[in-house]
Amino acid sequence: MQIPAEQITNIKRIAPEIALCFFGVLIMVVDSLLSATRKRSLIWLGLIGMLVALGCVEIAGSDPGPAYSDLIRMDAFSVFVHIIVIGAAALVILGSVQYLEHEGIQRAEYYALVLFAAAGMGILAGASELVTAFVGLEMSSISSYVLAGFRKRAAQSNEASLKYFILGSFATAFFLYGIAMTYGATGTTRIDLVRTTLQGLAHPPALAILGLGLIFVGLGFKVVAAPFQIYAPDVYEGAPTPVTALLASGPKAATFALMLRIFYVSFGSAHGTWFWAVWASAVLTMCIGNFAALAQTNVKRMLAYSSIAHAGYILVAFAASTAVGVAAVLFYLAVYVLMKVGAFLVLAHLGQTGEKRLEIQDYAGLGNKQPVLAACFSLFLLSLLGLPATGGFLGKFFAFQAALDSRIVWLVVIAAVNSVVGAYYYLRVIVAMYFWEPSKEYTPTRVAPTLTVALVIAAVGTLYLGVLPARVLALAKTAADSLFTSAR
């Protein structure tokens, strides 16, 4: 039997998702063959799955183009986001082994769900048709609803799962309505065709604008943009910490990628309409995130608010509405994923069994007791703060630059002032770690080798992007260009 060459290309272009799903299923099958004590070795299967998926991304990236009559595309943009989300998922898996062991929830489903979530995010990154995007969104969301409740004996974790599920369902419903409206207005759900249709009209029809608004609500929820951020602190705080690391990084990156495609490509001609919505949302997101974080004493919750604030900075770059802005968003996402996953993984370790030690005073004197871990944590915090020579600084730098390039001066000023507000609460943790007297009753636990590897990758990555960003920046620029070339 002859398989048409077109089919082979199609399969090649969704090979990363196939690999992730395949290994996810494989993990569940192998799980039934393993005794309870050997479950942790499943992590290797998960990691191999990730590596294979990354390999597929690399291969597919060398031959970019659409697949399945342009339902999904593998272009430079998609490749960049794929690497971010799969990388984030791999770091999270590496960092969770010890945590799961301590919590007594070492199960195969965990790894499988992370892989499925990653596959969903991969679809989001490549989707060039709105219903496909919806499938990807659901796939990643449903996996993360389950993951959020993975510590099933903890009430908080259950609360997080339920909250995330109910509100998340609303958000996806909004997104679906948005797609329906867009279809009604333009007669198509393909992102590039929506663009051509809208460009042909003098004014975008009201129905399409309504659709865009609903899409913004749905996706704004997933990237935690204000005013749709209400759920985030509770969910992030309640979910098991490694899962929080995933929630705060992967879906956000993938959803921002989809937002870029929909807003820039489909609704590029309606830019004047959505610009102020993004502008206002960016201001709100930054201010709410930063000022609420100031009041937190629980470090995990504080980092949850900080990820709201960071969504705001990304929206600043988003508002730029140029290819430079896209590159800035992508670069920011790459940095953000590294530092945020790193910070949450450190917390996952420091929280100890039952996530008991998450208050800021629990970290008093950590600099003396675990100097390397404390230094690592400080690096992530300083990067989140935006200190030069860390990736976080360049992320902000390029974001501000892109926005100024488009003459969005006041938004940049607001963002800049916000980042000083942010400095206060990040530094407070460092104050506790280094300036306070060590607390007596704390006994450090050993850092597992897998976690060490994850933290080293995150830390080195953060520094690398801060000192030698040229390569990744060039990739981000190519990715940004491919977003627009694909639109033609």
């Binding site: 290819a323 104050v431 030698l468 627009f484």
Partner: protein, 532 residues
């Protein structure tokens, strides 16, 4: 020649090389940690002296240049160079760091390794600020000075150290983040982060007045907080009082100069129009700072706080000198930066030595100290005299040049500022009298040991430099002259109104050429709409 061309990089990063050396030592091995830190900083000083023979004093441009592409995609370069303005500030930094290390020899007992690592990192960052000619690079170093200083104050400081450390860092970050926005804006207007290119671009065009004023304001605010200019000075007394001695020496000696250096390097030549427009107000703030700092210093009962307020007063002189826009006053200002670094650094060293003995800064705890410690207190007097600008000592030259320069254009300013010179004699001599002269008032003070050999080395070195700078000032000012005139020449373009206005490049410039039409409409809307 090859070696010459990398001299600045070597000087900038040598202290950083000491960090891994310290890291491999055991934390308990205090002696070797101190020795290696001292050795690195001394080697650094010696190497930095090599700048002098190679430095041409007639050449107004930047010397020992190094240019490499750093982040190609964003047009960011690694560009170093020194001129007559930054040369001596680099030397000041490399001179004060070994002293700061020496003075912490005994007084720092906890986490010794971390302390010296922080000092070495600060040294690299400060030198980096002085030698970088790329605004991005400058900003990176500028921010990097903050974190180690934050740790120095927060970990090894005195009782209210955490409050002081947080206040210090938040104040400074607030200023510098707006400067970052200004740097980006400037890049947006000129297409470069390179100081020389920006300067060249601005020399042939004019900025719209409002833009120039905003940019000037953003830069100036960052520098004024650092200096600190009245009324932005409130972080300084706390930071100084709470910092360990070495921290105060570095903070007063070099870090405050980052602010005045920034004004001279960026605010004046890049935005001369705005500088001229704002000069009367800035001059007024500087004079208020001079008098206010002096008056507040007079009534302090904490010796270290007193010295801290003298900085407010002395740096008021520097800012005044800069914003009088004459060759003499600017030279005086640069000279006064150096003087203040040496003299106030020395005052803090002296105060630190007293603190090591009595663990207090309260003036009333001392009294009649010349009886038990004749050597230490004689040197202390010498340093006080230098700080209050006694002729033949360094402080006199700086203040005198500033006052002459200011008097040429603004006689009233000069007379007000001169009152500061009188006041400085009052507060320093009065403080000295209460601390050192008369009967020994506290029994505990009777048995205090006089200066140890280590302390004598510090004091003799400082005193030697004070005297040398007092009598051999032409050696310094000659080397500053060409660069100072260069700054003033760049400022002169203000009078030439025939140049075209700098029109910012359209927002579309960065749209990839591969898809102009795909993006054109989007970007054009941006330009029309996005002006909040």
């Amino acid at each position: 020649m090859n070696q010459q061309s990398h001299l600045l990089s070597v000087i900038t990063f040598l202290p950083l090389l000491g960090v891994p050396a310290l890291l491999v030592l055991r934390s308990e091995d205090h002696t070797w940690i101190r020795r290696i830190a001292l050795a690195v900083s001394l080697a650094e000083f010696v190497i930095s002296l090599w700048l002098l023979p190679g430095f041409s004093r007639v050449n107004p441009s930047y010397q020992f240049p190094e240019i490499y592409s750093w982040i190609a995609g964003a047009n960011i370069r690694y560009h170093l160079g020194v001129d007559g303005i930054s040369l001596f500030l680099v030397l000041l930094t490399t001179f004060l760091t070994p002293l700061a290390i020496l003075c912490s020899w005994q007084s720092i007992r906890e986490n010794v390794k971390g302390f010296f690592i922080a000092l070495l990192i600060i040294e690299t960052a400060m030198i980096g600020v002085f030698v970088s000619l790329d605004l991005f690079l400058f900003f990176v170093f500028w921010e990097l000075t903050l974190i180690p200083m934050y740790f120095l104050i927060g970990i090894w400081g005195h009782d209210r150290r955490i409050y002081a450390a947080v206040k210090f860092i938040l104040y400074t970050m607030f200023g510098s983040i707006l400067m970052l926005v200004a740097i980006l804006w400037l890049y947006n207007l000129t297409g470069s982060f390179d100081l020389l290119e920006i300067q060249a671009r601005l020399n042939v065009t004019t900025l719209p007045a409002a833009t120039e004023l905003l940019l000037f304001g953003a830069f100036f605010l960052a520098f004024a907080i650092k200096v600190p200019l009245f009324p932005l000075h409130t972080w300084l007394p706390d930071a100084h009082t709470e910092a360990p001695t070495a921290g105060s020496v570095i903070l007063a000696g070099v870090m405050l100069k980052l602010g005045t250096y920034g004004m001279l390097r960026f605010c004046l030549p890049l935005f001369p129009d705005a500088a001229h427009k704002m000069a009367p107000y800035i001059g007024m703030l500087a004079i208020i700072g001079i008098v206010y700092g002096a008056l507040v210093a007079t009534v302090q009962h904490d010796l270290k706080r007193l010295v801290a307020y003298t900085s407010v007063s002395h740096l008021g002189f520097v800012v005044l000198g800069l914003f009088a826009f004459s060759t003499v006053s600017i030279q005086g200002a640069i000279y006064q930066m150096l003087n203040h670094g040496v003299s106030t650094g020395a005052l803090f060293l002296g105060v630190g030595m007293l603190y090591d003995r009595r663990h207090t800064h309260e003036i009333k705890e001392f009294g009649g100290l010349t009886t038990p410690m004749p050597v230490l207190m004689s040197f202390f007097l010498f340093i006080c005299l230098s700080s209050l600008a006694l002729p033949l000592l360094n402080g006199f030259v700086g203040e005198f040049l500033i006052l002459i320069g200011v008097f040429e254009h603004h006689a009233a300013w000069a007379s007000w500022a001169a009152s500061g010179a009188v006041l400085s004699a009052i507060y320093l001599l009065w403080a000295y009298q209460r601390v050192a002269l008369g009967e020994v008032t506290e029994e505990k003070n009777r048995t205090l040991p006089d200066a140890s050999t280590r302390e004598r080395v510090i004091l003799v070195t400082v005193a030697g430099v004070i005297l040398f700078m007092g009598v051999a000032s032409p050696l310094f000012t000659r080397r500053m002259e060409a660069s100072t005139n260069n700054v003033l020449r760049q400022m002169d373009r203000v009078r030439d109104a025939s140049r075209p206005t700098l029109v910012p490049p359209a927002g579309t410039q960065n749209i990839p050429s591969s898809s102009p039409h795909a993006e054109g409409s989007l970007a054009n809307t941006t330009l029309k709409r996005a002006r909040p």
